[in-house]
Every structure is written in structure tokens, then in C-alpha cells.
């Protein structure tokens, strides 16, 4: 598989506040710091299917980093976006991982992320604050980035491709002052199997969407042989999507091999559609 084929497959982007929160992920997905001067530290794997940015703490950092990673990594509409990190909680179990399905923000509206379906992981609501909170009473999860990440990521893709996971690191019984870098790494490591299962779902989601939405491979071959206007290009893509359902690439190329112009290509393909009768016993 060559690089361009891999790039066209699944893609995942990670936005994580702290290096300690990212370490286990970086190791597991074999990501390394990219060899380029960037505003935030950015890592990627060799296939360039996983990219990770260290945003630093806070909503502004998270929003800026999400947007920056989108640009730098040329993420597609079907890229999955993941935010993972530690969180305070007055309700959950210390060390456990939770999916976030409701986000409160002290300054703005409430948002409702979609979550991975059929997951055994428990779900909780998240409060994103601008200042550290130590009064955990009645709060399910508390962090300082989640809402900003979600607000920006949901402008880049549909919300089914966005995932927020939080691991409870502090609470009424577990003082935040006792939280060390080593302990954070440990908490992530303890949940790695669960994280990987969730990420696998988002990898597959991205890959499946790519297979449905990406331009048919034959589109590029035909486009390189004839010159198409923008309108014709859109017609070509539309026709090829429909033809690919009942013709293979060789049949399509045979249809147009005598064509002298782009308009005759479009006409030839259109004629094939015009005469198609769906064989319902074949579908």
C-alpha cells in the first residue's frame, strides 16, 4: 500500500492537553514529533493516519490547537477527532474512564456530543471551566478543555466523528495536589485497552466514510486524460458513483476510450445510465 492510498483511508486526530496524558497514546500508536517548527508540539505515526497535538491547559489553547491541527494535518471531513485527558469528579469512580455525552460551559450553551454506540463504557456530563475547581459537589466530570475542543471539532466534521473521554484523577477523596505526572501516565496506562477499543471504532468509522464519500479511484484516471470544467467534473463524479454500482473500471474505460473530448466522455457515461435497468435479483 503506498502513502497516498493510506492517506485516503482512515484518519484520527488527537487533541490532548498535557504530555503526561499523551505519553501512553503516543507510544501505543507509534507517533513521533514531526520534524517541523510548529506553534504546538505535533506528533504523527509513519502512515500519517494518527496525528496528535499537545494543546496545553485551557479552553483557548484547546480551541486554537484543534483548529491548528486541522490545518497542518489536512484532516478530511471524515476524520475522527478525539480528546482524552484527566478530569475531576464528585460522582464517578477514581481511575475509571468515561465517555462524555453532555458538556456544560460556564459562559455559553450546553452541547450534546454523540458517543460511540454499543459501548460498555459509562457516560457522564462534563463541565469545562476556565479556572481550576476544587468544589466537586454534584459535578460529574470537570475539565478545562472539553467544551472548546468540541465546539471547534464540530465545525470540522459531523459530531458522530468526535469523541471525548475522561479519566477521573481527582475528587473529594483524591486530592488534586497528590496528582503527579507519573500517576497521570499510570491512569492512562490502566485504561489503554478500553481506549484502544473506542479508537478502533472511530478508525473504522473514518475508513467506512472514506469508502463511501471519497471520489471513485477511476475519477482521477479519467480526469488526467481529458480536461473537465468544474461543472463537468461534478457531473463526472456523480456519473461515476452511479456507474460503479453496476460496472467495473474496465467496462467504464471501454465506454469512453474513443472519446475525443470531455463532453463526449460525460455523454457516453450518461448514455450508459440512461439505458440501465436495475436488476433487483442482483442487488
Amino acid at each position: 500500500m503506498n502513502k497516498s492510498e493510506l492517506l485516503n483511508k482512515m484518519s484520527v486526530r488527537w487533541v490532548i492537553a498535557l504530555k503526561e496524558e499523551a505519553k501512553v497514546i503516543l507510544d501505543y500508536y507509534e507517533m513521533a514529533l514531526i520534524n517541523k517548527k510548529t506553534l504546538y508540539p505535533i506528533y504523527k505515526n509513519i502512515e500519517e493516519t494518527h496525528w496528535l497535538i499537545l494543546s496545553g491547559v485551557g479552553r483557548h489553547n484547546s480551541a486554537a490547537a484543534t483548529s491548528y491541527l486541522y490545518t497542518i494535518s489536512k484532516a478530511s471531513k471524515w476524520t475522527s477527532w478525539i480528546n482524552i485527558g484527566i478530569a475531576g469528579s464528585g460522582k464517578g469512580d477514581y481511575g475509571n474512564i468515561y465517555l462524555v455525552d453532555k458538556i456544560f460551559n460556564q459562559n455559553s450553551y450546553i452541547t450534546y456530543p454523540a458517543t460511540m454506540p454499543k459501548s460498555n463504557l459509562p457516560k457522564m456530563s462534563l463541565l469545562t471551566t476556565d479556572i481550576p475547581i476544587t468544589d466537586y459537589s454534584s459535578k460529574e466530570l470537570i475539565d478545562m478543555e472539553g467544551s472548546a475542543f468540541f465546539d471547534i471539532a464540530s465545525k470540522l466534521t459531523s459530531k458522530e466523528f468526535i469523541c471525548i473521554m475522561k479519566i477521573i484523577s481527582d475528587g473529594p477523596e483524591n486530592n488534586i495536589k497528590q496528582l503527579t505526572k507519573l500517576r497521570i501516565i499510570e491512569l492512562l496506562k490502566l485504561n489503554l485497552t478500553k481506549i484502544a477499543q473506542v479508537v478502533l471504532y472511530y478508525e473504522n468509522l473514518s475508513e467506512n466514510e472514506n469508502q463511501i464519500k471519497a471520489k471513485p479511484d477511476i475519477f482521477f484516471k479519467i480526469s488526467s486524460n481529458w480536461h473537465f470544467s468544474v461543472t463537468q467534473s461534478s457531473q463526472l463524479e456523480n456519473l461515476l458513483r452511479r456507474l460503479k454500482v453496476f460496472c467495473d473500471n474496465n467496462e467504464i474505460m471501454d465506454l469512453i476510450k474513443q472519446c475525443k473530448s470531455s463532453s463526449s466522455v460525460v455523454n457516453s457515461l450518461n448514455n450508459k445510465i440512461e439505458t440501465n435497468k436495475v436488476n433487483w435479483s442482483d442487488v
Binding site: 458522530e160 452511479r242 436495475v278
Partner: protein, 330 residues
């Protein structure tokens, strides 16, 4: 299995909300202010949501009863529809609901009593007209009846107005409440049908045609009036053979005197809606047929539409009277 149920705060203590929630003991409940916070927002993927839709319980504020589009009806001079629910548990590839809402989550409006009042109001205002109501234009009328109980709730209203027709249009094999109550002359149980071979490709998550025919037959024998909706008519190889097989099977399985009406309608999508649906399902065989844009509507060639309608109508005329057959264009 519904994983998450979003509940508008305004109706969280409504008895119907409580009764519905009792049926979903394993679901996660999330309170929201307005259903629009979840439903029909931008940046949602209908196709992905459709695989695992969530449920929203909401309060409808207005627009309880609306006029049907021009060309939709079964003989009355005035036609109205109401939808206690948005979206459908089925996933039919020709259905306009795929392009209607950007969210595939189900919305159930629990304030049925407001529908009652609006229906009565429309009846009072049209006292001298023959009117028909269609239940569930934006959903399947009966597919979630065991959750909502809407049909059971609304039927007593129509007992008070025997001159006013109501049609429940469905692809479900829901028998209740109809098998447990006395048949009503003004109620039409209408079933959408396409040939078995097409149905197995296009009617996802829908009971098989044979199961639907069995339920139609049972309800007919119980005394309910039946509507047969060959709508949309789907084209393809051997379509005549497939439709002949379907129609013969239906007419030979149901007591003909129980049939209230038959309607045939072409496949059609508003242009913008078709574009959205094609983008969702670009590999769908249904869209590999030659389709044309006419006055903002995407459909088969008019000659094909005409040939299919006439063919089905002529087959039906072997069993029923011309006055029972309607063509639907909306």
C-alpha cells in the same frame, strides 16, 4: 435498544413521558431544554445516526394539524395530516424522510391532547366538507405504537366523528390496538407495499412483504378497512412480472370487500432532497436508474411512470372498481 433518551425539561413529569421511560430501563436519560438542541442541528451524519438512533421526548408547540401537499389524498375534498413523531424506525431507501431531517433520532411529542384539540378544531371548521386525516406523515403511523400508544389514544376522537376518515399508513405488522377493539368504518389501515425482491433490497429493517400481507389479511378479516399503497412504484428489470406477482398475491390474500382504496404513486424526490439523499447513499442501486429533473422534482421518465401506473391500475381493475383507485403525485 435505545441507548440515550433526551427529555425536554418541560415534559419530564408528563404522565406519558413517565410511561414511555418505563419501557427503556437500560437507557441513559438526559434532560434538555428544547428538542432542537439535539434534532436537526447542522453537522450531523444522518446515515451514521440511523444505525443507532436515540430518542427525544418533546413538547410540540404548534403546527399540530397541517394540509397535505397537493396531489396527496384518497378522494376527499380536504386532506390533513398530523405527526406525533418525527422519523421512522425503518430505513427505506426511497423514503423522503432521509432528506427531510439532518438527524435520524426519533422525536416523540408527548402532548397528544394538543393534537386532539387541533383535530377537533379542523373538523369543526370543515363541517360541510368530506375530509380525511392522515396520521404519521413524518413517521410510520404504527411502527412504535407499543411505545407511544398514539393510535389507541386518537381513535376515540374519530368514533365521535364517523363521517371523518382517518388513515394510518404503515409498513409495520402492528396489530394492536386494532385486533382488540371494534372496527370503525371511518378508519383506513393503509399499507405501503413494493415487490418482495425490491423490498429485500430497499426496505431495511422492515417486516417482510409476506408478514405484512398476513397482518393485512388478519385486520381485514377482523373487519377493518384496508388501503393498499403501491407508492412509490419502483422500476427495474422484470418490473411487470414483479408487480404482477405482488398484486396478485395481495388481491388473492385479502377479502376484496375489505379494501377501501388503492393508490399508486411514482418515485419522486424534491431536487434538493434528492441531492442530500444521494450524498448519503451514493452507492445505492436505486439511484443508478435513469432519473430526470422536472419542475424541481427528480423522478423516472414520465413515460415509465405512466406505463407503471397504468399497468398496476389495470391489474387492480380485475378485482376492484375504478372509483377505488387513486393516483398520488405528492
Amino acid at each position: 435498544m435505545i441507548e440515550t433518551i433526551y427529555i425536554e425539561k418541560k415534559i419530564k413529569d408528563h404522565p406519558r413521558t413517565k410511561s414511555i421511560l418505563k419501557k427503556f430501563k437500560k437507557s441513559r436519560f438526559i434532560e434538555i431544554d428544547k428538542y432542537a438542541e439535539i434534532f436537526n442541528k447542522r453537522n450531523q451524519n444522518f446515515r451514521i445516526q440511523k444505525a443507532n438512533p436515540n430518542l427525544i421526548l418533546a413538547h410540540k408547540n404548534d403546527g399540530f394539524v397541517l394540509r397535505t401537499p397537493e396531489g396527496f389524498g384518497i378522494g376527499s375534498s380536504k386532506n390533513f395530516y398530523f405527526s406525533h413523531m418525527y422519523n421512522c424506525i425503518y430505513d427505506c431507501r426511497y423514503c423522503f424522510l432521509q432528506g427531510m431531517f439532518s438527524s435520524a433520532n426519533y422525536v416523540i411529542f408527548v402532548n397528544f391532547e394538543d393534537f386532539d384539540a387541533s383535530i377537533k378544531n379542523v373538523i369543526d371548521q370543515n363541517i360541510n366538507s368530506k375530509i380525511t386525516f392522515f396520521s404519521g406523515y413524518d413517521c410510520d403511523s404504527l411502527a412504535l405504537e407499543n411505545v407511544t400508544g398514539f393510535a389507541k389514544h386518537i381513535l376515540p376522537i374519530f368514533q365521535q366523528y364517523p363521517e371523518v376518515e382517518i388513515e394510518f399508513r404503515t409498513k409495520s405488522i402492528q396489530r394492536e390496538p386494532f385486533m382488540s377493539i371494534e372496527p370503525m368504518e371511518n378508519v383506513i389501515m393503509a399499507y405501503s407495499l413494493i415487490p418482495d425482491l425490491m423490498s429485500s433490497s430497499l426496505d431495511n429493517k422492515v417486516p417482510s412483504i409476506s408478514k405484512r400481507i398476513q397482518v393485512i389479511s388478519d385486520l381485514a378479516l377482523r373487519g377493518w378497512k384496508i388501503g393498499l399503497r403501491f407508492d412509490p412504484l419502483i422500476h427495474g428489470k422484470d418490473w411487470k412480472f414483479l408487480y404482477e406477482d405482488l398484486l396478485e398475491k395481495v388481491y388473492n390474500s385479502i377479502p376484496l370487500e375489505a379494501i377501501h382504496s388503492v393508490s399508486v404513486g411514482p418515485l419522486r424526490f424534491p431536487k434538493k432532497m434528492f441531492k442530500d439523499i444521494f450524498n448519503l447513499y451514493p452507492n445505492e442501486p436505486l439511484f443508478t436508474s435513469p432519473l430526470y429533473s422536472n419542475d424541481g422534482i427528480i423522478s423516472y421518465d414520465t413515460n415509465i411512470e405512466e406505463e407503471m401506473s397504468v399497468f398496476c391500475k389495470n391489474l387492480t381493475l380485475k378485482y376492484l372498481d375504478n372509483s377505488q383507485i387513486f393516483r398520488c403525485y405528492a
